[in-house]
């Protein structure tokens, strides 16, 4: 059970068919949603995946969950290649990797009670022999997710709960299977700021008490600081910078990371600072720019950036970034 053999992603790609541009053209166009992504995840580690919408971070999470089939690349979990599994083979794996979704208002079935929702994964996997054992597991998961006392919530419906409570229900429904990896796709972006801290603290607690590794997907680089061990910044289907939290937040090397950091609202008007506001939006992943994908929006782009696609450059044992400015 060596550290390296927990979760390994190598050269993962996912292209979606975007149809033909016109009725008479031969070639179909491809959406390069995830384009050559590699990273490792260690046991009980928290990795933050940061990027704007359209950068491919949600597709990446669906690939990791096996809800989408990758175009190329491999996913290895505990030494086993799990890239292409049949549904029957995947079921066991599903217990170990669970997902938390962005919108707690949409990700709960409005016709189910909280008990039914949290009990459901147990039924699906046929875990726990009798009702007593199931009830105990449901209760434990709820209390670990901060829904205490569990009895109060069991017979309620999602619409009777607040946003924060609903997100706790989603987390409890994931915990009930005792997973080893939690994939959290923007778990707090729909919640009030005061509730966000609660949910992030809860996830931070779980990785300590339950030894769960967390992949925390977010567009807000500001929310990862306290919680994550490492940060990967994605742009247009690629990881452009990856490193420990301190390396990325304090010594960002890629111009995109620098810009993302500069626009995080600072809750103090005395610290109003110069922001690098990138104009326009992430380009369409159908027509990926030539050379460095970031060059059309890059404030420090050079002539060479247009033609040459930078490879990831190692800056330290843990820190690497893909930018031609770093080439010496």
């Amino acid at each position: 059970m060596s550290k390296q053999q927990f979760l390994e992603v190598r050269g993962l790609k996912k292209y979606f068919d975007a149809g033909r541009p016109s009725l008479f053209s031969r070639e179909t166009r491809l959406v390069h949603a995830v384009d050559d992504v590699s990273f490792d995840l260690r046991r009980s580690e928290v990795l933050a995946l940061v990027g704007e919408s359209g950068c491919g971070k949600s597709t990446l999470s669906l690939l990791l969950m096996g809800l989408e089939e990758p175009t190329a690349g491999t996913i290895t979990f505990e030494g086993r290649d799990v890239t292409h599994l049949k549904d029957s083979e995947r079921k066991g794996l599903r217990r170990k990797i669970q997902m938390i979704f962005q919108d707690p208002y949409e990700s709960l079935n409005p016709t189910q009670t909280i008990e039914e929702i949290i009990n459901e994964p147990l039924l699906v996997h046929g875990i726990a022999k009798n009702k007593k054992e199931r009830d105990e597991r449901v209760k434990k998961a709820m209390e670990d997710a901060g829904l205490k006392p569990a009895e109060v919530y069991l017979s309620r419906f999602p619409h009777e709960l607040s946003g924060g409570q609903r997100q706790r229900v989603v987390i409890a429904a994931a915990l009930v299977l005792e997973p080893e990896i939690l994939l959290a796709d923007e778990p707090v972006s729909m919640l009030d700021v005061s509730i966000r801290a609660e949910i992030i603290n809860l996830l931070a607690e779980l990785r300590i008490t339950r030894q769960i590794a967390v992949i925390f997907i977010t567009h807000d680089l500001g929310s990862v600081g306290f919680f994550a061990d490492r940060v990967a910044v994605m742009y247009l289907g690629r990881i452009v910078e990856i490193g420990t939290v301190l390396e990325v937040l304090e010594k960002p090397q890629h111009p995109y990371t620098k810009a993302l950091l500069s626009v995080i609202p600072v809750p103090n008007p005395r610290l109003r600072h110069e922001r690098i506001i990138l104009q326009g939006e992430t380009p369409n992943p159908i027509d990926v720019p030539t050379g460095c994908r970031f060059h059309p929006r890059c404030p420090v782009a050079m002539a060479v950036c247009k033609d040459s696609d930078p490879r990831s450059i190692k800056l330290s044992k843990t820190h690497s970034a893909a930018c031609l400015l770093l080439v010496k």
Binding site: E52, M65, L67, R90, K91, R94, Q98, F101, D103, E106, S107, N109, P110, T111, Q112, T113, E120, P121, V124, N130, K131, S155, S162, G163, V170, A173, A174, D192, V193, S194, I195, A197, E198, N201, A204, H219, D220, L221, G222, S223, G225, F226, V245, L249, A259, L260, L261, V263, I264, P265, V266, P267, N268, P269, R270, R272, R275, I277, L278, E281
Partner: protein, 645 residues
């Protein structure tokens, strides 16, 4: 063993759901009338032998009386061409009509439901095949086909049931398919997949419960259709001669001279029977739809109740000389009327001023009343909302008291709103430029027609959209661009004040920064005053001049932006600031505020924040603090502020 245990639980849940359903349905007049009409007929059918004075199935019925006797005490509905009692036939006929109706509908619903579910859920080739088949079935006229099939086969009751059932499923299949498609794309289905659930489980536990309400409504309508079809077939002489349905009665009466002898009763009563049942079913179906179909919910922006009569309040805040005061909200209180319960005090005693070119941040958690407050400024509250006190002075005019006509001249032209999630409110089939042009012409009737397009370009330029994108459709715009378009629309009539309700909440940080930069630039260039409603103190710090922090419908703290962030006095503001990740200290643990905001219909007796406040003492739980003046431009409602004075 296991299955028996797990079975008892859901049953109770279904009972609860049924009770909940009945509670809402009870209030639905149309549905109740329909249900009552049906109950009458069904009771009649069930207890037919006890209700009918003569048993039409026995030969005794033939000796009842003369043919075509007018209605009398002995024969309530008169007699028919064979001298039989029409009332008795009517009562027994209901059995046949209802049986055919219900059984045929059952077949239709099962076929339509299964096909719709399969087509909608699995999609792809199956969907194509099934839906094209459905389309073909829809194109073939039902009635002639039924007539042909029944005429070719033996016209027995079973045949009729099968023919009607087998031909009547098409609409059900289409309705179920579209609902399945809608449910399938919802996030909780994806979550169930992520949990590891298979197709069967998902259909049974996630799709079916949400398709069921629509299926029930559809079933009721299909029953009425089946009864009509049976009547038609029978009237055409294709009914089962051994089973006397209402349609059959009409057929006999019509064919055997009831018209020429003037025996209207022989046609009238069976006709009434059919109309009664179909009407009852239709009403019930409509009632059920109103209760069950979530899409028919009333829009939340309906005209609000009139403002309560109130005493005029004198302005108690001194007008500051610098900058013209545009908007002055004084002691504004809003209640939500809740039938049978005490009103919910959504907003209580809020005051603030807004000067030209000023940007005020209205901050609070969801449910703190900030959206209610904002909507009330233009009297756009939902119908239950009522302004009970206070005034909204715009250029000296009290907006809570002006007439609707006058308010209409102010809405949009002087004060406009960018709603939360508004970027999703663009009409998908019209170009963005077109929709902005409409905003101009609708609100400014005298705007010269030839200048509209120029104005649209000008507005798009203001918000940073290139003129050549004017003729694009909303789907060609990204989220950030759509939000810009919505801001352009809000600017259409050169307003003095813009109310922006969470304009950046669903957007990425970079787009959020772009929108903030845009709003900040607009107020500097156009001298706009902006009310910025948000739950994010960080966003506020970037651009606001002053901040009003709301909690549980009251002002927690109101001060200029620097004071709020550096000298906050209210514990709520202090806690909110601590909940914010600090980039300069990335490893610091975030503090969260335990508990949840109070429900507005169950407010605590004392300070509304007391139950969550770490500094609360006895007085906080019994007495609501007033808004204390801390400094010239700093107000806070906390007992601690008073104590420290």
């Amino acid at each position: 063993m296991e299955s028996t245990i797990s079975h008892t639980e859901p049953k109770n849940q279904w009972l609860i759901r049924l009770q909940n359903f009945w509670r809402t349905f009870r209030k639905n007049g149309i549905g109740l009338v329909g249900l009552a009409m049906l109950v009458v007929i069904i009771t009649m059918a069930v207890f037919a032998p006890w209700i009918a004075p003569y048993d039409s199935s026995s030969s005794a019925a033939f000796e009842v009386g003369d043919i075509y006797m007018a209605p009398s005490a002995a024969h309530l509905f008169g007699t028919d061409d064979a001298g039989q009692d029409i009332f008795s036939n009517f009562v027994f006929g209901s059995r046949i009509s209802l049986t055919v109706g219900f059984f045929a509908a059952f077949i239709s619903i099962i076929i339509g439901g299964v096909l719709g579910l399969v087509a909608g859920f699995f999609g792809g080739r199956w969907e194509n095949i099934l839906m094209r088949f459905t389309d073909i079935m829809l194109v073939i006229p039902d009635l002639p086909l039924m007539v042909v099939i029944v005429a070719l086969t033996k016209p027995s009751l079973y045949n009729i049931i099968f023919v009607i059932g087998l031909l009547g499923w098409t609409t059900t299949a289409r309705v179920v398919r579209s609902q399945t498609l809608a449910v399938k794309s919802r996030k909780f289905v994806l979550r169930a997949r992520a949990v590891g659930a298979g197709n069967g489980h998902i259909i049974l536990h996630h799709i079916l419960p949400l398709v069921m309400p629509i299926l029930v409504v559809q079933a009721v309508l299909v029953v009425s259709l089946a009864i009509l079809n049976e009547s038609t077939l029978s009237f055409l002489g294709l009914g089962d001669p051994t089973a006397l349905s209402w349609g059959q009665m009409l057929n006999y009466a019509f064919g055997r001279g009831a018209m020429s002898t003037g025996a209207w009763w022989a046609l009238f009563f069976p006709g009434i029977g059919i109309v009664w049942v179909v009407l009852g079913l239709t009403l019930l179906g409509q009632g059920l739809e109103q209760v069950l179909n979530p899409r028919l919910d009333a829009h939340h922006l309906m005209p609000s109740r009139p403002t309560l009569q109130k005493e005029h309040v004198e302005s108690d805040q001194e007008r500051v000389d610098s900058g013209k005061v545009l908007l002055e909200v004084q002691h504004l209180s809003i209640n939500y009327i809740n039938e049978g319960n005490p009103p919910a005090r959504a907003v209580e005693d809020i005051s603030f001023t807004l000067k030209q070119g000023e940007l005020i941040g209205l901050v609070g958690e969801s449910g703190c009343g900030k959206t209610t407050l904002m909507l009330s400024l233009l009297r756009l509250l939902p119908s239950a909302g009522q302004i009970v006190d206070g005034s909204v002075l715009f250029n000296g005019k009290d907006l809570t008291e002006v007439s609707d006509e006058e308010l209409n001249t102010i809405r949009w032209k002087d004060i406009s709103i960018v709603f939360q999630g508004a970027m999703n409110a663009l009409n998908p089939v019209r170009t963005v430029g077109d929709q902005i042009a409409e905003a101009i012409t609708r609100h400014m009737h005298d705007f010269p027609h030839e200048k509209v397009q120029a104005r649209v370009t000008e507005l798009l330029d203001l918000v940073g959209i290139a003129a050549d994108q004017k003729d694009h459709y909303p789907h060609q715009y990204s989220g950030g661009m759509r939000q810009r378009a919505m801001i352009a629309m809000a600017l259409a009539c050169d307003p003095q004040v813009i109310i922006a309700d969470e304009p950046t909440t669903a957007l990425d940080v970079m787009i959020q920064a772009q929108i903030l930069e845009l709003l900040d630039g607009l107020r500097k260039r156009l001298g706009l005053a902006i009310i910025f409603v948000t739950h994010d103190l960080g966003v506020v710090a970037e651009i606001c001049d002053k901040v009003l922090v709301m909690y549980g419908g009251v002002t927690a703290e109101y001060a200029d932006v620097d004071t709020i962030y550096n000298e906050a006095r209210h514990p709520y503001t202090q806690e909110l600031l601590k909940a914010f990740p600090d980039l300069t200290k990335p490893k610091k643990k975030l503090s969260s505020i335990p508990g949840y905001p109070p429900r507005l219909d169950a407010l605590p007796a004392g300070c509304r924040f007391a139950p969550r406040c770490l500094l609360a003492f006895e007085r906080c739980h019994t007495e609501q603090p007033i808004l204390h003046t801390v400094g010239d431009t700093h107000f806070a409602s906390c007992h601690l502020v008073e104590a420290s004075k």
